[in-house]
């Protein structure tokens, strides 16, 4: 099973209505993206991490690793905003250091911008992590269905989700089969073997989709993948926390 999904299934918030969780991360997302104050994004980040560890029961280790991975991307992305490179020293508000023939410079405005960007992205990413670590895809599809997202779109999403695992599975089996016949013994055979897998996987997927269509038809498929919605409950505690969080973030915004 996909790594993150495993935690979503094990999460203590699994049985809670996906729409409630969607609402919570939606609130955070909107606050982070609209507030001009870095403190709001930072506060949201802390709230989300806190909820993930204390309420959802996701292991600290997992949260930290996920954050490091996301942080790396984020860090690389904001370097370009914080610093600029030029061939001559820029004027007053900028502070620069010479590096060979180049000047690397930054200014208070650029740093403020970077901070805001970091807090916004950090807050939003933590909100999405909250959703992915507590809500399996199935539940999310369910929730979106109730939000009246077009059925066609949902069916495509759901089928793609299923096929990702089928393809991975097929690929894994093919690679193991090749390995056991020395398909990856040398660089040359490795290149050849992986080429074969790449093309075979698609042919296989095509054949499989045809057989899946036949199986769906057998069970009376009429253009829509209708399935039973799961039953969830709403958590009063989480609503309270949701309210508390929103108020505290608004307060931070207000006092800035």
């Amino acid at each position: 099973m996909a790594l993150l999904e495993r935690y979503a299934y094990a999460s203590r918030l699994r049985a809670i209505d996906p729409l409630q969780k969607l609402g919570l991360s939606g609130t955070v997302l909107i606050l982070c993206l609209t507030s001009p104050h870095p403190a709001v994004g930072g506060g949201a980040f802390l709230w989300m991490i806190g909820l993930l560890i204390s309420i959802a029961g996701v292991p600290l280790r997992v949260v930290v690793r996920l954050l490091i991975a996301q942080g790396l991307f984020l860090g690389l992305a904001v370097i370009g905003v914080a610093f600029s490179v030029s061939t001559s020293a820029p004027p007053a508000p900028f502070r620069s250091v010479a590096l060979g023939p180049f000047w690397i410079s930054t200014s208070p405005a650029a740093l403020a911008q970077t901070l805001l960007l970091l807090s916004r992205a950090g807050g939003s990413v933590s909100a999405l992590s909250f959703l992915t670590l507590t809500t399996p895809m199935v539940d999310l599809f369910d929730g979106l269905r109730r939000l009246r997202v077009p059925v066609l779109l949902l069916d495509v999403m759901q089928t793609m989700y299923r096929f990702i695992f089928l393809l991975l599975d097929t690929m894994e089996r093919m690679v193991i089969a090749q390995q056991s016949r020395l398909g990856y013994a040398t660089w040359r055979t490795s290149m050849r073997s992986s080429g074969i897998v790449a093309s075979r996987v698609w042919l296989d997927a095509y054949q499989r989709s045809r057989r899946m269509q036949q199986a769906l038809d057998s069970r009376g498929y009429a253009g829509e993948l209708r399935v039973l919605p799961s039953t969830y409950h709403h958590s009063r505690n989480l609503y309270l926390l949701h309210g508390g969080m929103t108020l505290s973030l608004l307060a931070v915004w207000w006092w800035q």
Partner: protein
């Protein structure tokens, strides 16, 4: 006895390869019968079964359900597929949904059942097929045998008059296989006809009342299991003597 499903002189050629796979197959299935379909790899078993609920359309010949020639469009085909349930050879082809309970419910909702009745029925077949503890699982996180049982439950849920399985027990452990064969026998006593394609001669001998032997797209034997497996002439004609002689007493 009550005739449920009739195949009459069915011919089929795969367009992709031009290979003639079925050459005039005729077969009749009565209510409550337990039939095993055996034959070598590539003899055409899977192809034949796909004709039974109108997935493949014969180039020549006819298929009748309760004496009616079925058309391949509109309400006719829906009624047909409701009455003839097919469990596919590869469970992975059949499971499309992200989780088990949802997959089992699919056919029921297509039949227009309400969510509440569908939920009850899902729980019922899940218990019969031994997958109750898996209802909440994603379909990709199941073992091969578990997938086979979920696929079976999805078809059984629709209460078909004819249940057709393409080696649907092959991936099961012997205990589960025994349990499901028992279930099939129960269903047959309730009047459901069951046709299983299988390579398991023991199953054909002990569970089936009737055995159909397919060879290169033609039926070479269609008779009571007891007669086929005892009569040396039939054994010779179907070449079953070559494989049975080993464990003869």
């Amino acid at each position: 006895m009550n005739l449920v499903l009739e195949l009459d002189n069915v011919h089929y050629t795969y367009a992709e390869t031009g290979q003639v796979v079925l050459r005039g197959v005729s077969l009749q299935l009565h209510a409550g019968q337990r039939v095993a379909l055996i034959g070598r790899n590539g003899s055409g078993k899977s192809t034949l079964l796909l004709h039974c609920n109108g997935i493949l359309r014969p180039q020549q010949g006819q298929i009748r359900v309760h004496g009616q020639v079925m058309s391949y469009t509109g309400p006719d085909i829906r009624l047909w597929r409701r009455q003839v349930g097919v469990i596919f050879q590869h469970a992975d082809d059949q499971l499309f949904s992200a989780n088990v309970a949802q997959d089992i419910s699919f056919g029921l909702l297509n039949l227009g059942w309400t969510a509440a009745t569908a939920r009850t029925r899902v729980a019922e077949v899940a218990a019969q097929c031994g997958v109750t503890h898996l209802l909440d699982r994603p379909t990709h996180a199941l073992s091969g045998g578990e997938k086979a049982r979920v696929a079976l439950a999805g078809v059984l849920a629709m209460e078909p008059a004819v249940l057709i399985g393409d080696e649907c027990l092959a991936a099961l452990d012997p205990w589960m296989r025994q349990q499901l064969l028992g279930l099939f026998t129960d269903l047959a006593t309730q009047g459901i006809s069951i046709l299983l394609a299988t390579h398991d001669l023991h199953l054909a001998q002990t569970w089936a009342q009737r055995v159909v032997v397919l060879e290169q797209g033609t039926v070479v034997a269609d008779l009571a299991a007891a007669q086929l497996f005892r009569d040396p002439r039939w054994l010779a004609r179907t070449q079953l003597d070559q494989v049975l002689s080993l464990d003869a007493p």
